[in-house]
């Protein structure tokens, strides 16, 4: 079971809310599917994003994948430590391997995300 203190997207991003700030990352399942991470390209603090916008891209030896923002708002912090150390993402995707913090502009978008239990079903289906 993935952490149930946060909500998920069926595209494998997660968001953890504290007041009006959301921390965004990707799930262990996404990391496992990508494997052999090489490079992550993230936006800059100060950038504004709408839900569904490309948040960045993550490159593995085999392919490149887009990351999508599950929420709208302004980026207030980018996890610079992962740029040189993608091991943080592979080893601790729900903790040290977070990508960005967003000051969210619409909390109803968070409610539209799915719960850990629902995300579990998404993964089960993806695995079959």
């Amino acid at each position: 079971m993935r952490p149930d203190d946060r909500r998920y997207m069926d595209t494998h991003e997660w968001a953890l809310i504290e007041d009006d700030v959301a921390t965004i990352g990707i799930s262990d399942f996404a990391v496992e599917q990508l494997t052999d991470l090489v490079f992550v390209d993230l936006p800059q603090a100060g950038d504004s994003l709408s839900k569904g916008d490309t948040l960045g891209e993550i490159e593995s030896v085999k392919a490149v994948s887009d990351l999508y923002s599950p929420l709208s708002g302004e980026i207030i912090e980018v996890n610079e430590s992962i740029a040189d150390n993608l091991e943080l993402v592979s080893q601790d995707p729900f903790g040290e391997g977070w990508f960005v913090k967003i000051r969210i502009s619409d909390s109803s978008e968070f409610d539209q995300m799915i719960s850990a239990a629902e995300y579990e079903k998404v993964i089960e289906e993806a695995a079959h």
């Binding site: 494997t35 030896v61 085999k62």
Partner: protein, 368 residues
């Protein structure tokens, strides 16, 4: 999708399988980097049963293959193998293959998975016209398993009846392996020393399982690392560096087009013409700055103009850099030339390098 005699084993081991030219093949078992590293430092095990294996045998075999393939069969000694091309009438590349001369009038032709049918058709049509010559599709009967890496010989020797240390690079022997008849060749596609085993398919799963368990414990390697290994070693991959719009002269493969051979072969006339003029484009290898990874079809720019395209790219596990191959006009294809690759709108600077980018530290003493 078609399966190999080993597909069930791959699935049980948790490999990730993908569609490769209509075959359900493992792209990776655990990690491309780990599998790549094992092959460079020790040994790796490869399921290559998706490739076509065709036996051509009989009095007219040499003549038939001389008419279909780019090299002169008379220059392949019995017990040796050669890399060669099957060309189109217009002198472009239909497939790149390995030909083994098993006996005076007996050959084994190994084709890429994606080109099994066209190669098969061409050979059958030719052999139909050749008296006393037969074609046998051995792709199902004989499984093809490779072990590649510096420790291959010492690891595999206990299972092979004959002495492998005397087997030269691009040579093969008919021997016994794991108590069954086998053709063992010192060939491969990784830039390392290694062997390819043609064994009866009934015994393929047993052989594979034996090698993955103690005391051998050879790491299975998927197509992902097979690609990064061959790319570092500067080897062509059909569908990337080679296709039906590419000539051997563009692909730096003139050495395997034997225009001087006396017999005619498909594509010879066109190649004779092409060989007299400078090629329109040249295959290059390059390294890029930064961590973005170049991918097939991305534009290569020189002096600000898009003048070429990436054919293959990866994050090189051995070199720790982004690398690739591609085609550029010959005037700007010299090593040292500064390039930019347009990676989804990001212009990433790099330099053309001598191909191959990786050469194994100590070439095998068995090299021809």
């Amino acid at each position: 999708m078609k399966q190999t005699p080993l597909t069930a084993l791959h699935k049980n081991s948790g490999a990730r399988l993908v569609d490769f030219s209509g075959w359900e093949m493992p792209v990776l078992y655990s990690s491309i980097r780990a599998e790549h590293g094992a092959t460079r430092s020790c040994a790796g095990l490869f399921d290559l049963c998706h490739m076509g294996r065709y036996e051509v045998v009989g009095e007219g075999a040499t003549q038939a293959l001389d008419a279909e393939l780019s090299i002169e069969m008379g220059r392949i000694a019995v017990g040796r193998a050669r890399y060669c091309l099957m060309l189109t009438e217009s002198g472009t590349i239909l497939d790149d293959l390995i030909v083994y001369r098993l006996a005076e009038t007996r050959f084994l032709v190994v084709a890429n998975a994606g080109n099994r049918d066209p190669v098969r058709e061409r050979l059958i049509d030719r052999i139909d016209m050749s008296p006393e010559t037969h074609f046998h599709d051995r792709s199902d009967d004989w499984s093809l398993i490779a072990i590649q890496g510096p420790e291959s010989e010492s690891l595999i020797q206990p299972l092979v009846a004959d002495d492998l240390s005397s087997l030269r690079y691009y040579a093969q022997i008919q021997t016994h392996c794991n108590h069954h008849p086998a053709l063992v060749a010192r060939t491969g596609y990784t830039g390392e020393d290694g062997f390819e085993f043609y064994i009866p398919s009934d015994h393929a799963a047993d052989f594979w399982e034996k090698l993955t368990r103690p005391p051998y414990e050879v790491l299975p390697v998927g197509l992902g690392a097979r690609d990064t290994l061959r790319l570092e070693a500067g080897m062509h991959l059909y569908g990337h560096e080679l296709d039906r719009s590419t000539t051997p002269y563009e692909a730096d493969l003139a050495r395997v087009v034997h225009l001087e051979k006396s017999s005619d072969f498909v594509g010879k006339q066109a190649c004779s013409r092409n060989s007299q003029y400078p090629a329109q484009r040249s295959l290059v290898a390059f390294e890029l700055e930064g961590k973005r990874v170049p991918r097939q079809h991305q534009p290569i720019r020189v002096d600000g103009s898009p003048v070429g395209q990436v054919t293959s790219g990866t994050a090189s596990p051995t070199l720790g850099r982004s690398i690739g191959m591609g085609y550029l006009p010959p005037s700007v294809s010299q090593p040292g030339t500064t390039i930019e690759v347009d990676i989804r709108g990001h212009l990433v600077p790099g330099t053309i390098q001598k191909r191959p980018l990786y050469t194994r530290p100590q070439p095998a003493t068995h090299s021809a």
